[in-house]
């Protein structure tokens, strides 16, 4: 038996397929683009190939993420906040606080040992402190967003970024470049600036160790270091961070499916 979680983010759509023991059997990821339905179908197909099953063999599917209501394939939807908490505690059982930085929003979540949400707050009004801020900085420097984290770690000093607005920061970066400042040093400042904004968001839910960093931005080593330095806590993060929402959704799907199976057994 297999279940699926689909996380339709503003930038990327992710899918995780679990087997009946809760082990990851397959994963899929692609850019969300304009056609949300197509993105969802494709990540499910990718994950099914990995899992060695056909899409119709998936017993239960839960959708999450900002585009979850536009996905017709799922059996139900769960908010991405619940899914990130669920996924993070499953992967790092000591998790009590979660920082989720996605393409267009940032969330601070506090959870208990069962992965239930205790408190949360989010910024989805403004691109400052989100993945878009990093993407804009990368673009203006002619770099790929995947390489800026590692580059920022080569900095010898951190240049203070004064603008909060993503639009204004682009001109600020160009001005710094034209003054001959090193890209590495500017990038260190950019990462530090986002870490500062993340810290104030997290303070509203209060930071309790351990902190797990989720979302696409958590794969950026420069961001992980900047958050660790700013909050003075050890941060759990890794390559799987961006699948956290989809993993949580799949775990919810597994619970529902198993509960349904138990009810059926009891009825018989």
């Amino acid at each position: 038996m297999h279940v699926a979680g689909i996380d339709v983010g503003s930038t990327q759509t992710k899918c995780v397929i679990l087997d009946e023991n809760g082990a990851v059997a397959g994963r899929g990821i692609r850019m969300t683009g304009a056609d949300v339905l197509k993105a969802a179908d494709q990540v499910v197909a990718q994950a099914c190939v990995q899992a060695g099953i056909e899409p119709h063999e998936v017993a239960y599917t839960i959708g999450t993420g900002y585009g979850r209501y536009r996905v017709a394939t799922g059996d139900d939807q769960v908010t991405e906040i619940s899914c990130h908490a669920k996924g993070a505690v499953h992967l790092f059982p000591g998790t009590r606080t979660i920082l989720d930085i996605g393409g267009q929003d940032t969330k601070g979540i506090r959870t208990n040992a069962r992965g239930e949400v205790v408190d949360f707050c989010m910024n989805d009004k403004c691109a400052a402190g989100t993945g878009r801020f990093l993407a804009a900085a990368a673009e203006v420097m002619g770099l790929e967003v995947e390489e800026i984290g590692a580059l920022s770690l080569e900095a010898t000093e951190s240049i203070k970024i004064t603008n909060v607005c993503t639009v204004f920061v682009e001109s600020e970066i160009l001005n710094q470049l034209s003054r001959g400042r090193k890209r590495q040093d500017i990038l260190a400042g950019v990462h530090r600036s986002i870490a500062g904004r993340s810290a104030s968001l997290l303070r509203r839910v209060t930071v309790e160790s351990e902190l797990t960093f989720t979302g696409g931005v958590a794969r950026n080593p420069g961001m992980v270091k900047a958050v660790e330095e700013r909050l003075q806590v050890k941060v759990n993060a890794g390559e799987d961070s961006q699948y956290m929402g989809a993993l949580g959704a799949a775990l919810f799907a597994l619970e529902r499916e198993l509960a349904g199976a138990r009810r059926q057994e009891a009825a018989q």
Binding site: Q104, A127, A128, V167
Partner: protein
Amino acid sequence: MSFVAGVDIGSRMTKAVLIGADLGAADDDKGIVGRCSVLTRFDLAAAAENALLGAVAAAGGQRHQVLYLAATGYGRYLAAERDIQITEITCHARGAIALMPEVRSLLDVGAQNARAIRLLPSGRVVSFRMNDKCASGAGRFVERVSKALEIELEQVGPLGLQANAPCEISSICAVLAESEVINHVTNGESIPNILQGTHESISDRLASLVRQVGLEEPFGLTGGVANNQALVHALEKRLEVPVRLHELSEYAGALGAALLGRQRLHNARAVQFA
């Protein structure tokens, strides 16, 4: 003949205005003997010098005939040859009064800033409010949307006027609005309706900035955004008052700097010869 120059170094455009150095010369738009605007780009000092040289050429004069140079705008400290720098608020108020003597409240919208100003007939500032933290209420918001839609900035006004049912733009952030307008395109909304929705959205924020200083009629609009007729229309709808404009609205800051500069030059001379 000798001149006084005002240079307004904005984040997008740098504007220069030349007026006669004599106090007796006209102190409205008729006093402008030369003007020029250039894209600011990244070398602010060069932009200031280029705009100034352009204004000197337009006046048919020589660079050495410029006796005094007053700089304003966000790059004012980078105009190498300046004799004085004056804040934008003071300059815009002075320039706006020179162009539209009747106005009692004023909104200046540049690429990165919006400033609402209430002023006395003399051009003296009574109070002001400014947004320079975020592109949500500045010209850049429109610029970003136009770029996302691949429309020339100059076309945004004429196209916006063709809207029949402006669509709602819910993102306040210019960056997030880019994705939103692309979604609107995907959903089949017309470009004029998206653009006018954008103008209405930014007008909401501009109107609340104006209300913070108090809307007093007549109300005038200056800055580069004043050239965008569709935005002016949206702003009139929000404020429910007519918006006064001047064809040289974009030069209000530079003209104000030149006029204030000329006053300083004469005050300094009066002290010198006393």
